[in-house]
Symmetry: C2
Subunit: 378 residues, 2 copies
């Protein structure tokens, strides 16, 4: 099987990630719930993972790395926790439903008004639009770092400058980029960086989180046991516990830490170059196949290792099924939880077949996929 | 090391649980996000775990078993998702902060009024109080199945009858009992059963969930990617996806499924008898040691395998540290996220040393713990 659905989840994990989970399941107690060795071991491993992530993302404090079950939870927490009644929020057409649906919900429930920086038919946005859409009630820019459909990136330095200049909150969805592209919260003026663990960070499913700029006040999504201040009716505010009610996914977090270590040991740039090369080789070949239309901007200097395409007017599911059954190649068809992006690209009906690459893919696999697409096109 | 902190998390898992997680990490794609073999494998394993849990808890439909990251998230979802402005809710003094703090939050934010069935100094409640506290605005009873501090159980059949009679929602926190004590949602008239995976279900941390009676309408805590109905602004309502935004913890859920299978294969009654015996032997011996006070009702026919105690007026943390360092026995001291229970028992200052037993503990370990307490008391 050739797994090219890494934008959904990286199926192949470094062996040390699996080993870290196994070790945790053999020896980890409940963190912050006792002082015996096993509870302390859990607390230590979890704290080390916070340190690794804060270092990776330029988060000023390890204790401001919050763990959630996925980036959706992180985005819901950040969006509901900071956007108030009547606020205006600027987002983009490139967003995933994990950004869009929480925003639409606030539109209904808190009279929040929304503006979307439009994407053109190549899937790219015009940065001037961010400033043009600012109103006196604008409270935040919520924006992805990379489209899960086209792989096009957003220049976070540029958007961060705008957010800073206009004193707007800047909430970033790094689901598709964390672990592959450099992110520096301070340099990019990011207030909350939301990430998932199970994609390019090579962690287990059930991991993810958010890095929070010190000084921000985020209303928690959920409250409960905190291990500290048991007698207070209000869940404690200090981070990380303030946004982490209940028992953490310690076993998963141990694996996530091993994933981040793997990235640091291998070198993020090395990983990125390999993935970019695979995507580039694939793109260069398939875009020449008659009847294939590739979506997104491939002139960009830098893009996530994703190639979305369609073959003539075949339904994308049909093509993807054919790839799976005829060639043992795993891709993802259909709509990709990115409704505005499909609208911009004109692929609402057809969907798109997404090929997404990871460190563990080989150039041989890419050539097999190219051959498969050539055959299918005939 | 003798691990007697199983009420916090079961450290020792059946080997097949770890193996299931490893297998999942080696072969599982993202469930409901594609149709290739790996995505389908994920969907299948997750669905099988829903079936196992629905069967275990008497949940009428497997697709009404919702996965969350822990029971705290399940309780927050059920409580915020069903209790409205101005409602009255009945709960008990036996609750964990995972029940109390969401309720206190609604007291502040939705003018919800709360009544608590009081616990006496033995930690038990009077069932007549439930009916006495009902008002015309009472909407729900939210109640634990077993105290995490004393191990005393609540008779869910009895409380369920009251809830049914008065047409109240019945939300149950089964964190301490799921996997050890029979639970039948239908027989007990439970509307939402909240459970954690990493305790007596032997699953990995990061797992848990809620079983929802068909026909209930629960407002989701978070919304986002659903894998279906991409173009709708509102997160789809149908279960399970309606309450499961974003990528599930597939790896953890695979382990949870193996945990439930282990329980079914071993026999829940067999497990319960073993744990009850360990707790009973421990209790019978330690309650005779001069200077030791044990909390809770040990006349009860049936109780969770927990023994909480104090030694003279020593701080519970001191005793627990001594057990950890001098005897390699892991227990949990302090407050146990159960403030009202500590108030009822009169242990707010001192906390309590909690010994909690699991299937993987042996009678020899119990005797070692008894000897340790005897020595410490001298």
């Amino acid at each position: 099987m050739i797994y090219l659905d890494n934008a959904a989840t990286t199926l192949r994990k470094p062996p040390e990630v699996i080993q870290a989970v196994v070790n945790a399941m053999n020896q980890m107690g409940n963190s912050a719930r006792g002082t015996h060795d096993e509870a302390l071991a859990a607390s230590r491993i979890i704290y080390e993972t916070r340190e690794l992530l804060s270092d990776l993302f330029g988060c000023p404090r390890p204790d401001h790395v919050i763990f959630t079950s996925n980036s959706t939870e992180a985005l819901n927490t950040a969006i509901y926790g900071m956007i108030s009644q009547g606020d205006h929020v600027i987002s983009t057409d490139m967003e995933h439903n994990s950004v869009l649906r929480p925003l639409y919900r606030l539109e209904r429930e808190r009279e929040v008004s929304l503006s979307f920086v439009p994407a053109d038919e190549g899937g790219t946005i015009c940065y001037e639009e961010f400033e043009r859409q600012i109103t006196p009630r604008t409270r935040a820019i919520v924006c992805t770092h990379g489209s899960n459909l086209t792989g096009n990136l957003v220049d976070l330095v540029r958007v961060g400058e705008i957010a800073k200049k206009h004193k707007l909150l800047f909430i970033v969805d790094a689901s598709q980029t964390a672990g592959v592209f450099p992110i520096d919260m301070e340099k990019m003026h990011i207030d909350v960086l939301c990430f998932t663990g199970h994609k390019s960070l090579f962690g287990p499913q059930g991991t993810g989180g958010m890095c929070v700029r010190p000084g921000l006040d985020i209303v928690p999504l959920k409250v409960g046991g905190s291990g500290v201040r048991t007698y207070e009716k209000i869940h404690p505010k200090e981070l990380p516990v303030g946004l982490e009610a209940g028992t953490l996914n310690g076993h998963g977090i141990a694996g996530l830490g091993a994933g981040v270590r793997f990235i640091k040991d291998t070198g993020m740039e090395m990983i990125r170059r390999h993935e970019e090369k695979l995507a580039r080789v694939f793109y260069e070949e398939v875009c020449q196949i008659p009847g294939i239309q590739v979506y997104g901007d491939f002139q960009a200097d830098c893009r996530a290792p994703i190639v979305a395409l369609n073959l003539k007017d075949y339904d994308s599911s049909e093509v993807s099924d054919e790839l799976a059954q005829g060639y043992s190649i795993a891709t993802r068809p259909g709509a990709h939880c990115a409704p505005r992006m499909h609208q911009a690209l004109g692929t609402v009906e057809q969907g798109a077949v997404r090929f997404s690459f990871s460190w563990f893919n080989t150039i041989e696999e890419v050539h097999t996929a190219i051959r498969a697409m050539k055959e299918l096109s005939q």
